[in-house]
C-alpha cells in the first residue's frame, strides 16, 4: 500500500472544482471529509422529490454520494462493514442529481455511456472503492450521522466522515473511463 499512497492524490470535502477537474482516470485518491451514503431506494426518493420540484433533504451542491448500505454498527465501533455497491443500478438517476450540483460519486463496477457524458458535462467524477473490502474501509470512517430516510434501514442516507478513504478515479471529468 505504501508505495501507492506516495503518489495518491489527497482530496478533501467540500470538493474544490479545480482539484476535481484535475483528476485523471486511474489515479489513486485518498479522500477525507464528508460523504453521503445513498443507494437504490434513496435515489428513487431523490428523483421523486425533484420531479415534484421539491428540495432534497440536504444541500447536494459540491457533495459526494457514496453508493453504500453499511451493516449495523457493532458495539464500540464507528460503523460496520461499509464497502461500495454496484454503481450501474444508479445510472438512470444521475442526470437530475448532477443538475443539482453533485460533484462526485463513489461505487464499484461499470457505468453507462450516458453517465460518462453527464459527468463530462457537469465536470464531476466517478470514484471506485474496492468492492468487498467493507471491513477495511470501515477503519477509515471516523464519524457517522443519520441524515434522512431512516425508515429505509440499511438504505437510509447517512453522513460519513472519512479519513484517507482509498479510491481510484473510475471516470474523470473529461469522461475518460477506466473500464473502456
Amino acid at each position: 500500500m505504501s508505495a501507492s499512497h506516495r503518489k495518491a492524490v489527497r482530496l478533501s470535502t467540500p470538493l474544490d472544482p479545480v482539484a476535481v477537474a484535475r483528476l485523471r482516470c486511474g489515479q489513486e485518491v485518498l479522500l477525507s471529509g464528508d460523504v453521503y451514503t445513498a443507494r437504490d431506494q434513496a435515489h428513487r426518493r431523490f428523483a421523486d422529490l425533484l420531479k415534484k420540484n421539491r428540495r432534497l433533504p440536504f444541500d447536494i451542491r459540491g457533495q459526494v454520494l457514496y453508493y453504500c448500505g453499511p451493516t449495523r454498527t457493532p458495539p464500540g465501533r464507528v460503523i460496520g462493514a461499509c464497502g461500495p455497491t454496484t454503481a450501474g443500478r444508479m445510472d438512470p438517476f444521475m442526470a437530475p442529481l448532477l443538475r443539482q450540483g453533485l460533484r462526485a460519486v463513489i461505487g464499484k463496477g461499470r457505468r453507462s455511456a450516458d453517465v460518462r457524458r453527464l459527468l463530462k458535462r457537469h465536470k464531476a467524477v466517478y470514484l471506485l472503492a474496492t468492492g468487498g473490502a467493507g471491513a477495511l474501509l470501515a477503519r477509515h470512517v471516523t464519524r457517522r450521522r443519520p441524515v434522512c430516510f431512516a425508515d429505509l434501514g440499511p438504505e437510509a442516507v447517512v453522513r460519513l466522515t472519512v479519513k484517507d478513504f482509498p479510491l481510484l478515479v473510475g471516470i474523470d471529468s473529461r469522461g475518460r473511463d477506466i473500464f473502456t
Partner: protein, 280 residues
C-alpha cells in the same frame, strides 16, 4: 439421536456470524496465491487490500462485506436423526435471526419482492433440505451477496451440444459479469437434473473447497480448461485488469433426461463465505 430446538438454533446463529466475519481458509489461500502470481501492479495492490480486509474483519469482528447476503442454509439429515417433535425450519429461521442480530449483520431482505418494503428482521433465508447417508445433522450457511447472485445464468442446452459449447457458456457468463460482481470470482457450475437441480448444484458447487477434485477425469479436464480461459480474459481483480479473474471453478453433475442438458452457472464474488457444522 434426538436433537433440540435450542441446539439447532445456536448452531445456525454461530454459523451465520462465523461465515460473515471469518473468510474461508481456502479462499484466503487462493487470494494469497493469486497475489503471488499476479503480474499487474494494481491488481496485486487490490488483492493485498482484500487480504488486509479479511484480517480487519476477523480482528474487528466486523463483516467481511456489508452485503451479508441472502442467507442460504443447507440442512443434511442423517439416518440416525430423530426429528419427532422438532420444528426444524423454525429453529433454523430463529438461528439465522439471532446470528444476524448478534453479528450486527445487514438485514438485506425485503418481505415483498414487488413492493420492496417491510423488512423481515432476517427471517427470509432460503433453506434446502437433503436426506443424507452420513450420520448426524449437517448444517451449512452460505450468505450469498446479490451483486454476484444477479449474474446467475441458466441455459437449457440441446442434449447433443458439444462440451465446448458448455465451456463457452461458462466463460460468457463470467465475461458478462465483468467488473460488476467483485472479481476475482469463484464459479459454481451445475450440470444435469431438471432446471431446478442444475441451479441447486451450481450453488452447492460453491460450498466445495476451491481445490476440490471433480468427480471424473473428463470433468477435471473441463475445470482446468475453463479456469485457464477465465484467467486469460484479463478482467482481473475488481475488473481493473490482471491475471486473477477466477479463484476457483467447481462443477457438479447429476443424471438428466435424454432430451435435455441443463447448465446453471452461479458466480460468487471473491468474498465467498460459508460455514459448516455437523451435530452428532
Amino acid at each position: 439421536m434426538k436433537i433440540t430446538h435450542a441446539r439447532v438454533r445456536e448452531a445456525v446463529a454461530d454459523l451465520c456470524v462465523r461465515a460473515n466475519v471469518v473468510l474461508r481458509p481456502d479462499v484466503t489461500r487462493a487470494l494469497r496465491t493469486a497475489q503471488k502470481t499476479e503480474r499487474n501492479r494494481r491488481a496485486r495492490l487490490l488483492l493485498g487490500q482484500l487480504l488486509e480486509n479479511a484480517r480487519a474483519a476477523k480482528s474487528d469482528r466486523v463483516a467481511i462485506c456489508q452485503d451479508t447476503g441472502l442467507p442460504v442454509v443447507f440442512v443434511g439429515i442423517g439416518p440416525d436423526v430423530d426429528l419427532r417433535g422438532l420444528d426444524l425450519e423454525g429453529a433454523v429461521r430463529e438461528g439465522v435471526k439471532r446470528g444476524y442480530r448478534r453479528g450486527c449483520l445487514r438485514d438485506s431482505i425485503v418481505r415483498d419482492p414487488l413492493r420492496r418494503d417491510g423488512g423481515t428482521h432476517f427471517s427470509g433465508c432460503a433453506i434446502h433440505y437433503e436426506m443424507t447417508a452420513s450420520k448426524g445433522l449437517s448444517l451449512t450457511v452460505l450468505p450469498k451477496g446479490f451483486g454476484c447472485e444477479n449474474k446467475t445464468q441458466l441455459r437449457l442446452f440441446s442434449p447433443t451440444a458439444p462440451r465446448e459449447a458448455i465451456e463457452d457458456f461458462i466463460v460468457a457468463c463470467v465475461r458478462q459479469a465483468g467488473p460488476d460482481a467483485c472479481p476475482p470470482y469463484v464459479v459454481g457450475v451445475g450440470i444435469g437434473g431438471a432446471s431446478d437441480t442444475a441451479c441447486l448444484l451450481s450453488k452447492q458447487a460453491l460450498l466445495r473447497p476451491l481445490t476440490a477434485r471433480a468427480r471424473t477425469a473428463s470433468l477435471r479436464a473441463m475445470v482446468r480448461r475453463v479456469h485457464k480461459r477465465l484467467n486469460a480474459t484479463g478482467i482481473g481483480p475488481l475488473g481493473l485488469g490482471g491475471d486473477a479473474t477466477a479463484l476457483g471453478v467447481n462443477i457438479l453433475t447429476h443424471p438428466t433426461h435424454i432430451a435435455g442438458l441443463p447448465v446453471c452457472v452461479n458466480i460468487s464474488c471473491h468474498a465467498l463465505r460459508s460455514a459448516h457444522v455437523r451435530l452428532t
